[in-house]
Point group: C2
């Protein structure tokens, strides 16, 4: 049986092999699912494997694993690899901390408190509290449940009364808002999709009218969701203006900063979130622009009582030492909970605020560079001049979908498209601050070369 020293040594060798392969070949070999199932024997069996067979199989799986940390992966709202955060996350695996109590997690509870507290102060929640969640969708779900319970006291105990409730988010908001409404029982149809301006920012007048209409129809507005960094365009809803509307109607204001929350680290760009201190809640995923391994997501609340009031359960078998304040299981959705704090804390301690400021600046600078290059190129059409780090564009007369697929099949880059005003546009997310302007040049040249090989195509839908 493999012992832990051997396992650590094998893990280190396989990790190094993988990292070196990223440099040699930054895109994994293209295989269809059917081909992969033919190439790899993934089946679980009655009998186990010996050490050599096992290592060989792991090596084969890694060979076909998408290289999400390489310089050619632009497909998602995360990218690159932070060495310090990776180090700490590996240690988190080895110490195997579960984050419900101080008794079981010790200093890691204090570490999470420090991280949450500093994030709250960046938002402007001077006396706030929060909790790390397994991703932005679940963080949004948690916030929406809390907002709903606060809107109708007693609901947590006795259940929905049947009074129709509504949530407001822009038509460019993340799909987890609708999904969560279907899960927590508000109903998907009760999420009002508020229209946006051409650059993807919520129309505040339309929001105001929608709320007034619902109130006069007897519905109970439970939350407005302002998106800070939309998924496709990276647009920022005007939080300060929305906060006024929320204040007038007495509706909970939530800022979904899963993607864009990290602009708070930049003196130059934090104005995009002006007004966030007036929100009731804020989510922010450091696994996106701050580059820690997936997942790391904070749900932050201006009023520190809200989490416990909506999540506390008595469980003497678990919460039996120290004050509840030190037992985060009293205010998390989870019981057993992975330690997502250590990686963020370690990287933040190492880089400092100033390191993250530089990182965010670099991402914005890369995006501006890419946008300027695209604007100056007659073969390319910039969708909008980016508000943040998503650069959306088309190649004149060619299908964005086919270009993305061709880049993937030819193992040149992994990137996706989005839909903006009825057009499919290529979405270049400038998250990886290890890239240089020369890499952006190379990428755009590759896109044009691939597009040249494709037949004429349409992006209208």
């Amino acid at each position: 049986m493999l012992n832990i020293e051997e396992a650590l040594s094998d893990a280190a060798s396989l990790a190094l092999e993988f990292i070196r392969s990223e440099e040699e070949k930054p895109v994994a070999p293209y295989r269809t699912p059917e081909q992969l199932l033919g190439d790899l024997d993934l089946s679980l069996q009655e009998k186990g494997l010996d050490h050599d067979e096992f290592i060989q199989l792991i090596r084969e799986v890694l060979a076909f694993t998408p290289k999400t940390c390489s310089g050619c992966f632009y497909n998602q709202l995360f990218g690159g690899r932070d060495a310090v955060a990776t180090l700490a996350e590996i240690l988190a695996v080895v110490i195997n901390t579960s984050m419900y109590t101080f008794k079981a997690a010790g200093p890691h509870v204090l570490i999470e408190q420090e991280v949450v507290s500093r994030m709250c102060r960046k938002v402007g929640f001077e006396h706030g509290d929060g909790i790390l969640c397994p991703g932005g969708s679940i963080a949004n779900l948690l916030v929406m449940a809390v907002a709903r319970n606060e809107a109708e006291p007693g609901l947590r105990e006795t259940g929905h009364s049947g009074r129709p409730m509504t949530v407001y988010a822009s038509s460019e908001s993340h799909y987890s808002i609708t999904k969560s409404a279907g899960v927590i029982g508000i109903g998907r149809a009760n999420v009002r999709q508020i229209r946006t301006d051409p650059s993807g920012r919520m129309d505040v007048d339309a929001l105001n009218r929608a709320i007034a209409e619902d109130i006069s129809a007897g519905r109970l507005p439970v939350a407005i969701v302002a998106t800070a960094g939309t998924t496709v365009l990276g647009a920022f809803d005007p939080v300060a203006d929305i906060a006024e509307v929320a204040g007038e109607h007495g509706v909970w204001l939530h800022v979904d900063g899963a993607f864009g929350g990290s602009v708070l680290m930049s003196g130059e760009h934090r104005h995009l979130l002006a007004g966030s201190e007036k929100a009731d809640s804020f989510i922010w995923n450091p696994h996106k622009m701050m580059g820690v391994p997936v997942v790391c997501s904070a749900a932050l609340f201006r009023n520190r009582a809200h989490l416990s009031a909506n999540l506390y359960e008595q469980a003497e078998y678990l919460f039996q030492t120290e004050d509840d304040e030190l037992n985060p299981g009293t205010r998390s959705l989870q019981c057993g909970r992975r330690n997502d704090a250590f990686k963020l804390w370690a990287a933040w301690r190492y880089h400092g605020d100033e390191g993250y400021e530089r990182k965010v600046q670099k991402q914005f600078a890369l995006a501006r560079y890419a946008a300027d290059r695209i604007e100056a190129d007659g073969d390319l059409a910039l969708t909008f001049y980016p508000e943040s780090i998503n650069v959306c564009f088309e190649v004149a007369g060619k299908s964005s979908e086919q270009i993305c697929q061709s880049l993937r099949e030819r193992e040149l880059a992994v990137i996706g498209y989005g839909v903006v005003w009825g057009h499919r546009v290529i979405r270049l997310v400038c998250l990886n601050d290890a890239l240089s302007t020369a890499d952006i040049d190379d990428f755009l040249a590759t896109v044009k070369a691939i597009a040249a090989d494709l037949p004429p195509g349409e992006n209208d839908i």
Copy 2:
């Protein structure tokens, strides 16, 4: 700036130091939170650290980190360390896969499908489907939301109608059932806590009466939760009998096998879950008895359409290649999702079913050994002869709470108590199959020695 090769090398050295310290000193130094805040400078700052300062700080944090993998940690429903699963989990950190699409996750999507499919077959869901979730509480929440939506068609779209809904779980069920009822809007007070027999198994007649009463009062029963492995006693509700009641009333049957689901790996013990194939859903946490790093939790459904029907959202910016079947983001609560499949798949592939069968057998054998020793000892009182691997007992005339606290303060063991029929009892969870019967002897001798030093105490509450 630290590069990734150095970071991997640092991580390997620090991990080895930590693992060696477990052998030398299996319990971390006891510190109060105040002392820790004095000993460690955890504060995040404007400036970062240099490499040496950083490594020194990480080393200090590790020195005070509870050793959850050591032979003296009995505090939770996880324990020990599986070398192979640790290896794969470290690689999961390095490859940084997010599990929404085949395009981003490649073979890891197929790996999760293989794991889920094999788990479904062990449960008896021949055509089932499932998804890995970040812990049992969220898996229970997901299942309860699905069951509720299925009980009242249209609810996902239009929201709760206000018709009172009820959920049934034993008084020994996990607190996540009540918590989830408060989050998804059923209401905490609508969870019926069904009484149990003295060994902690749900009273099926009482369940039947409670459902009949609610139905005649016009309430809508949406789910029965059978607990397979209660938190304190490790008791198994009689699933086959409960399935009959569920069938009679047409109510969704969910098995919460977060803790006990792994008995399905043992030919000798899987009878504890007889009838599970009749359930509608089943959750099972391999991070507990199967020993993979936290967290790893599967939510399994007999009808493979249920997940997608209750979670699917259109998101062209994400789901743009391959069929939805290969894009697990179409049927998960999360969007970005950590890769919890790889560690389980790797360990299962290495150990085979037969390895897990041995592991579960060993846990049961250790528990029986401990129970027999306690029964034979006049100073100790066994609470019940264990149905599975939790051995609950008292030391005659001494406070269980004080004994647990004293073991922790003297850095001898980390263990907790539970309440059984109004008594605080020490809960010895025999999860760590690296332990021998001699370790159990040592542990019991330590408990008796510590208790001898304590004043007389009470366990009645």
